[in-house]
Symmetry: C2
Subunit: 212 residues, 2 copies
DNA sequence: TAGATTGTTAATCGATTAACAATC
DNA sequence: TAGATTGTTAATCGATTAACAATC
């Protein structure tokens, strides 16, 4: 439908960072900023910043720079923070509960609608006014409720099964905390948070430093 | 000290993924694998896999491929999983507690030595046999104990302060969950887990799909 | 030995940076 | 108008892929 050429993943990964820094500028009542000033703050080159923004259209004004509020709103629209997303969490262990209680959650339009687990001790417990249900109920739940994003916080060995369940029920976005690479159709988006890989990266970087 | 040319971040970020897949192969009793087979499994091209490994030395054998166990151990050594790391967590909220209870933690050599928070309700509570202490005690604690990695799970507005405290006490690795970019000296390594940015990336990708 | 697959060099591709004309 | 800064094209840099000689 849309015709704009594909945006590279490198650019996409920078967008949330722009969004965060612009929010901070807004809070500090800054109302205009040049690519140079933004560069000093955020650490990307001014040239890259202008290139990135121009993937989506000309948000600036020659001789002036960018209007912070306008740019913030535009990037928000590009990211999709102007919409609401119904979500469910599968796996109410440490990570699942942390995510459920994460307050910034709602700020980007995430509405938590359900939490599921297999552990009988957890089923029935309430988190944020939501009663944890048996994983066996997910299918029926998804039949009745419209859910946009499924969050996987189960162990590695069951993650793919949950992903399949999501896919067969039409969920198009998966936020995956399990240490596996999920296999899903092309039209389903997966964003991974691989904590173990993150830890290993840190450890590598530390040892590399020490070797210098 | 070490003279090997700098490894690009792109390669570094792939190492933990290799490590994870090799662990899986080991568990399945696979004892040799070619770059082509690994490519089918992991999704990188065979050429890239060979290039990556050759940043660190020739781990393979022409006509044979790679010995899984040997390669796994080599990559482990490169990453630094053969060493132990004393860690502390600052911020015992949802994320901090989840990380403290995260069982894979120890598997890569992380030894949790302390947990700190400002909340009087949390101070004194035990998590994994460790009593949560007042944040004010961090400085003294770091004076007495050798800590390699500091984990920041506090809100954005105090994260930099904690990082400064870490740096002044000689901590060289920071795992940061706060939604800020920390300012630290060059010889201190920071690995960020920015959940909010991850969510926004997912939302962008979903909307991009829908537009197609 | 013949076949297979690495290690490594060369070619290609894509992303970042530099430069500058357009224009507010 | 003059100065500033964007939008955009061109140049550079780096990363990925292709190719193939080396060799197990």
């Amino acid at each position: 439908m849309d015709k704009k050429r594909d945006i590279s993943m490198a650019v996409i990964k920078r967008l949330p960072k722009y969004y965060r820094h612009l929010a901070e500028l807004l809070r500090n009542d800054v109302d205009r900023i040049s690519s140079k000033e933004l560069s000093d703050k955020i650490g990307f080159t001014a040239s890259q910043i202008r290139q990135d923004f121009n993937c989506f259209g000309g948000f600036g004004q020659q001789g002036y720079g960018y209007n912070v509020k306008e740019l913030y709103n535009e990037i928000g629209k590009i990211l999709g923070t102007d919409k609401e997303y119904n979500t469910i969490i599968v796996g109410a262990g440490n990570i699942g509960q942390a995510i459920a209680n994460y307050s910034r959650f709602e700020k980007v339009g995430f509405n938590l609608k359900g939490i599921f687990d297999t552990n009988p001790k957890l089923i029935g417990v309430r988190i944020k006014d939501i009663e944890i249900e048996d994983v066996d109920n997910i299918d029926a739940f998804l039949g009745k409720n419209s859910v946009d994003i499924g969050i996987i916080c189960v162990p590695a060995n069951t993650a793919q099964k949950i992903a399949d369940l999501f896919v067969s029920n039409g969920i198009k976005g998966i936020w995956n905390f399990a240490p596996v690479d999920l296999d899903v159709p092309e039209d389903v988006s997966v964003e991974n948070v691989h904590l173990l890989e993150s830890m290993l990266t840190l450890v590598y970087l530390m040892n590399e430093q020490k070797a210098k």
